[in-house]
Point group: C2
Chain length 110, copies 2
């Protein structure tokens, strides 16, 4: 039917998938990398930095904001964006735990 059966999976599985989804586009990776580099910037900076139209950049920013990975503070006529440190730590921990789990499991295939 073309819609994910969210209710059929655990909250943990859905949350981890949602976090991964927020990172599942090169533009959003680029936005985050840029934010890491400059610490904070306004939307216009990203429009210059990325090969995308302003509307498209704004859309990607909204997705990152909805995933809680970044925050946007209105400063006069512009909006200042930066990583949400707390949420970012959570993501790192969740992903880290996920990978650690796999590391400890045996990896001998059939």
């Amino acid at each position: 039917m073309g819609v994910t059966k969210t209710a059929a999976f655990t909250a943990d599985q859905n949350e981890l998938a949602a976090m991964a989804k927020a990172l599942a586009h090169p533009a959003r990776i680029a936005i985050i990398e840029y934010l890491i580099r400059v610490n904070a910037c306004i939307c216009g900076d990203l429009v210059e930095e990325l090969p995308l139209a302003q509307a498209t950049v704004s859309q990607h920013l909204r997705e990152l904001k909805e995933a809680g990975l970044i925050r946007g503070n209105i400063e006069g006529v512009s909006v200042c964006y930066c990583l949400d440190a707390a949420r970012w730590s959570e993501l790192r921990d969740r992903m880290g735990a996920f990978f650690e789990q796999a590391r400890q499991a045996g990896t001998t295939c059939c």
Copy 2:
């Protein structure tokens, strides 16, 4: 236009995004968690484990296989799946580096 501008981003950005995309669905998270738990299993086990039809499970398995995260070995009439340890390590390292980068950056927002 509804198509990601892959060529406009770096290989690194595209690869990281592709890895994240492979994890960006609860069913695929569930598949990987199950594989971690049982180490290896056949496709039929996953069909019983997941609330999805066989065709859908097979499709998710293909995506994970194409991302290189799992391997499938034909064993008679069934197919045995397991995590690809090497690729999994690579993913962990790439993600880890990404998060580490963010951790070292300042996090004071505007």
